[in-house]
């Protein structure tokens, strides 16, 4: 289910993007699932077509959905592959940490520092 609250300070396109992204990441929306068309979703949620289009565009840029021409938008397998890559990298990192004899708290702190440094580059 998608809910758009017009009284929320969060812009409607961001509400929509965040909910769809969350459902894709939680696998409520499985890979290959066909999403509603932009026009239909806009009519259902009482939003402008451009608002829904922007949310879909951002999801597409994040690799979570893909648009196959007139067939519509589908949940992409790229997000799933990205998650698998992250899992593999984490396993490699854990192996390095164990080899160097660094304790878990320190290892987590290193990751957090790396992520904090990374965020400004991404946004």
């Amino acid at each position: 289910m998608i809910v758009i609250d017009s009284a929320s300070p969060v812009p409607p396109f961001e509400q929509l993007r965040a909910q769809l992204a969350g459902q894709i990441q939680e696998r409520t929306l499985a890979v290959g699932t066909r999403l509603p068309t932009i026009r239909r979703l806009a009519a259902d949620l009482g939003l402008a077509v451009n608002t829904v289009g922007r949310a879909y565009r951002e999801l597409e840029e994040a690799g979570l959905i893909e648009t196959r021409g007139a067939a519509g938008s589908f949940v992409s397998a790229a997000g799933e592959q990205g998650r698998e890559r992250a899992r593999r990298a984490a396993a490699e990192y854990a192996a390095v940490i164990a080899g160097l004899g660094i304790d878990t708290t320190e290892a987590v702190r290193i990751v957090q520092a790396a992520l904090t440094q990374r965020v400004p580059e991404v946004s």
Binding site: M1, I2, D5, S6, P36, R40, A43, D44, L45
Partner: protein, 269 residues
């Protein structure tokens, strides 16, 4: 803006929800208004085809030959077919206007909601209408058209005229049904939360199933081809009608059992 909802309409909405296992959903004025307009539109949508059937019968009878020897399509019959085509167009326009009325009330209800909810994946026609119903609908129309076309090519005189009258009526009803089904399957969701989204889905299912009942297809032969008595053709029609009525009754009973199981099942709320 939605008109003021009467307490009886709210009570009807509460009973409607309770009968569908949604007793936990509050009967809002929005839901009451949507159910009321559907009830009225459904009544009008039943009266319109009934009026169409009466007019169809009058048109058919008005152009019947006075002597059995009179065959072919004279001027009177040609005019009667023109009138019938106009009646068919009137039926389709009338049904479309009823749908527009329902849609307008839905739009007004949706515009007043501070929150809007919808499905991430919209239920398709198989979920809303049901595969067996869709197949039955297609078979009923195709079967009726097939019988009418066979009568048109193989029979003579008044029987051919009856088949033409039936075919024109059938085409009109098929177009009307297609327009209404498209409307039911594509019109926007009107919901604010999970409860009203479930109610909206059930309303859509009921609307679609109501539209998909081929009552007019069963009635059309009665006002035209059945005037020749119980010959083999009309026996064929009777068997066809009885079989499709039995099939629909079985499908409806099956749906009822499944709905009951869903309400009382472990996952039911």
């Amino acid at each position: 803006m939605l008109r003021k909802v009467r307490p009886t309409e709210l009570e009807t909405a509460r009973l409607w929800l309770a009968a569908r296992g949604l007793a936990d959903v509050a009967p809002t004025p929005m839901l009451a208004a949507r159910l009321t307009v559907r009830r009225r539109a459904r009544l009008a949508a039943a009266v319109l085809p009934a009026a169409f059937l009466c007019a169809n019968a009058l048109v058919y009878v008005s152009a019947l030959p006075i002597r059995p020897a009179d065959d072919g399509f004279g001027t009177q019959r040609r005019w009667s077919l023109v009138v019938l085509t106009a009646l068919v167009a009137g039926l389709v326009v009338g049904l479309s206007l009823l749908d527009r009325w329902v849609r307008r009330v839905d739009q007004q209800a949706g515009a007043e909601l501070p929150r809007r909810a919808t499905h991430s994946v919209r239920p398709g026609w198989r979920t809303v209408l049901g595969g067996p119903r869709a197949v039955l609908l297609a078979i009923t129309y195709a079967g009726a058209a097939g019988l009418a076309i066979a009568a048109l090519t193989m029979r003579e005189g008044a029987a051919r005229y009856a088949a033409v009258v039936l075919l024109i009526g059938l085409c009109g009803v098929a177009v009307g049904t297609a327009v209404r089904l498209r409307h039911v399957l594509t019109h926007p969701v009107v919901a604010a939360d999970e409860g009203s989204l479930r109610a909206d889905f059930l309303m859509r299912v009921e609307d679609a199933r109501e539209v998909a009942v081929p009552t007019v297809v069963w009635s059309l032969p009665v006002v035209s081809v059945f005037d020749t008595g119980l010959d083999p053709w009309n026996t064929g029609w009777l068997v066809f009608i009885v079989l499709s009525v039995v099939a629909l009754a079985l499908i409806t009973a099956g749906d009822g059992r499944r709905a009951l199981a869903a309400q009382h099942g472990p996952g039911a709320r």
